[in-house]
């Protein structure tokens, strides 16, 4: 129990900091009659460009919503921790009560179930109310794998370059000059850099102090593509634990789910653009190695954006929602 408690404390320390604003907001929203409007803050932001003024998310709201995302990430991590017995279960009462209060809030639920569907918070809520009790605690490898997974995930978390790349991939646009919204950088520009040898080398060789959004996005793509095979390896090593494997994929599920749609075609497209050029001095052996490594990367992206890793946990949620009886010692209410 001591180790599990230490694990819980380290997770709280690692993930808790970024959740502070969301927790404060929730506290205020619950206490005051005229407190902040939670459903408004967690409103849906439509993908198309035809949205009303009201749907526009301000910068301040973006920071707060980021904190809500961090809170949901934290609860997702705790769900994986419970799944493999990495943290104590039942959880300490105050933590359990607070998590259940947050995850059961209709506005928060809509946010993670409908607007930006992520499975782990939902599974965690179902666990807290006693509607599911998945466990994969056999052997000592699960904890070690989970630690590796958390450290490898840090490769792309809180990284400005990666954020820059994902923003472009998410149909985002950057304006180089705030006063001039005529000159914008989008995904097409990134693809052009990748397919042109000179532009690519210039972007990679650019000093950090001279980097603009495009150069940062190229660096971010590099980090993302370093992360993908590392994640795939951790998932492969977790094959003995199908729920853990699926849960670790779902931790990044928003992006990989998103990448499985047409935007994933853009990422694979980026790799293909990169594959187009060859420098003149390339030897035949290097050319073969290059082709093989690009094929391997394409395979990795295809696997990560496929549905294979998604299924076990999704099936578990479905089963939990169908079941009427609560498992174990949960209160069995609140659904």
């Amino acid at each position: 129990m001591v180790i599990e408690l230490a694990n819980l404390q380290v997770l709280e320390k690692k993930y808790g900091r970024a959740t502070r604003d969301a927790r404060d907001f929730l506290r205020k929203a619950y206490r005051k009659v005229d407190g902040p409007d939670l459903p408004y803050l967690l409103r849906h932001h439509p993908d198309d460009e035809d949205f009303s003024e009201e749907a526009i998310i301000t910068d301040d709201e973006t920071w707060l919503r980021d904190s809500f995302d961090s809170l949901l990430t934290y609860y997702g991590v705790l769900e994986i921790g419970c799944l493999i017995g990495f943290v104590p279960f039942p959880l300490p009462r105050p933590l359990k009560e607070e998590a259940l209060l947050h995850l059961s809030d209709p506005a928060v639920r809509r946010y993670y179930e409908e607007y930006y569907p992520t499975l782990l918070p939902e599974l965690f809520r179902l666990r807290l109310v006693g509607r599911q009790d998945l466990r994969e605690t056999e052997g000592s490898a699960a904890a070690a794998l989970f630690m590796d997974f958390l450290d490898i995930s840090a490769l792309i978390e809180d990284d400005e370059d990666v954020d820059c790349f994902l923003w472009l991939l998410d149909s985002g646009v950057f304006y180089e000059n705030e006063e001039d919204d005529e000159t914008a950088i989008d995904l097409e520009d990134l693809l052009s850099v990748l397919e042109d040898y000179d532009s690519f080398v210039a972007a990679v060789a650019c000093k950090p102090s001279d980097q603009g959004y495009l150069e940062q996005a190229v660096q971010g793509l590099g980090k993302f593509l370093t992360f993908c095979p590392a994640l795939e390896q951790v998932l492969d090593r977790a094959r003995r634990y199908p729920y853990l494997q699926s849960a670790m994929w779902h931790y990044h599920g928003y992006w990989f789910g998103y990448l499985s749609t047409e935007i994933g075609g853009d990422l694979r497209n980026a790799v293909q653009h990169f594959a187009r050029w060859q420098s003149k001095d390339t030897k035949p052996r290097e050319r073969r190695e290059s082709r093989a490594s690009i094929r391997q990367m394409a395979r990795t992206l295809k696997r990560l954006t496929g549905r294979g890793f998604d299924r076990p946990l999704r099936a578990a949620v479905r089963a939990a929602l169908k079941s009427r009886k609560p498992h174990g010692r949960g209160p069995g209410s609140g659904l």
Partner: protein
């Protein structure tokens, strides 16, 4: 049964992380990645396999990270040396602040019986410089150090081959492209070409520090491991190091990445614990 505590963020280097032994530890293995590597990602299944090994139940594992692109080897070695001094002389000051309240803290006086530096590629240059300074300053703990080197870049490397792994894929660049990267993006490569003044200085000083008869010494690697398919580093003998052990069919990147079907890197490390 979990044998190690999780310590994701150590306030040293870049993304340095650790696995602290639950049992009182008498050994520490410090893993140091190479050019453009990452603290943990470079080592693949090492941490998972090691924590499953009985021999490692009393060993702390540290995955040290640093800027393996821009910072020159000496600069990285300097930071690493600062860290190593703390590990050698006051390890409780490193371990205890990153242990959680629920875990039992280490005694303030505890010391490691063995400090194993496991390095890859450029990491070998970084650790070797740090050890030279420990030698120069006659640090007491230096005699407890052992080195295990995977594909060390201490005799130089093919810079263009080093640059060819890009965006997670292999893409050889022209000489001009390599030159641009060398000057602007990866200044550390100036330390790594065959015959560079940095590497020459490293070997000269190492040899000067060793007596003629020295065989077992912290400046002499215990194990040097290279892959037969490594076309990046010069596989020549450095100083008084033993002849390299060859891993068949492994290239520069995979030589230090064990998995269920390739446990040789772990075996070699366990031999020196």
């Amino acid at each position: 049964m979990q044998t190690h505590y999780y310590a994701p963020e150590l306030p040293f280097g870049l993304n340095t992380c650790a696995r602290w032994a639950v049992k009182p530890a008498d050994t520490v293995c410090i893993f140091v990645h190479g050019f453009r590597g990452y603290a943990l990602e470079t080592w693949y299944e090492f941490p998972t396999i090691l924590v499953e090994q009985g021999q490692c139940a009393a060993a702390d594992l540290i995955f040290y990270g640093y800027d393996g692109k821009r910072a020159r080897a000496n600069t990285s070695a300097n930071s690493f040396y600062d860290f190593l001094k703390k590990v050698g002389s006051q390890p409780a000051k490193i371990v205890n602040p990153t242990l959680q309240e629920a875990a039992t803290p280490r005694r303030q006086t505890f010391k490691y019986r063995r400090i194993v530096l496991v390095s890859h590629s450029l990491g070998a240059v970084v650790t070797r410089f740090a050890l030279l300074w420990a030698h120069q300053e006659r640090k007491v703990w230096r005699k407890r150090v052992r080195q295990v080197l995977f594909a060390p870049a201490h005799k130089g490397s093919d810079i263009s081959a080093m640059c060819s792994s890009i965006l997670g894929m292999i893409k050889p660049l022209s000489a001009g492209g390599v030159d641009a990267l060398l000057k602007l993006a990866y200044p550390v490569l100036k330390d790594l070409y065959v015959g560079s003044p940095t590497l020459k200085d490293l070997e000269d000083r190492t040899l000067r520090a060793l007596s003629r008869k020295a065989k077992e010494h912290y400046l002499i690697a215990h194990r040097v491991i290279v892959g037969t398919d490594d076309n990046v580093v010069e596989p020549l003998q450095f100083g008084k190091d033993p002849l390299p052990v060859e891993f068949d069919g492994k290239g520069h990147i995979k030589v230090c990445k064990p998995n269920a079907g390739f446990l040789d890197p772990v075996t070699k490390l366990l031999e020196v614990l």
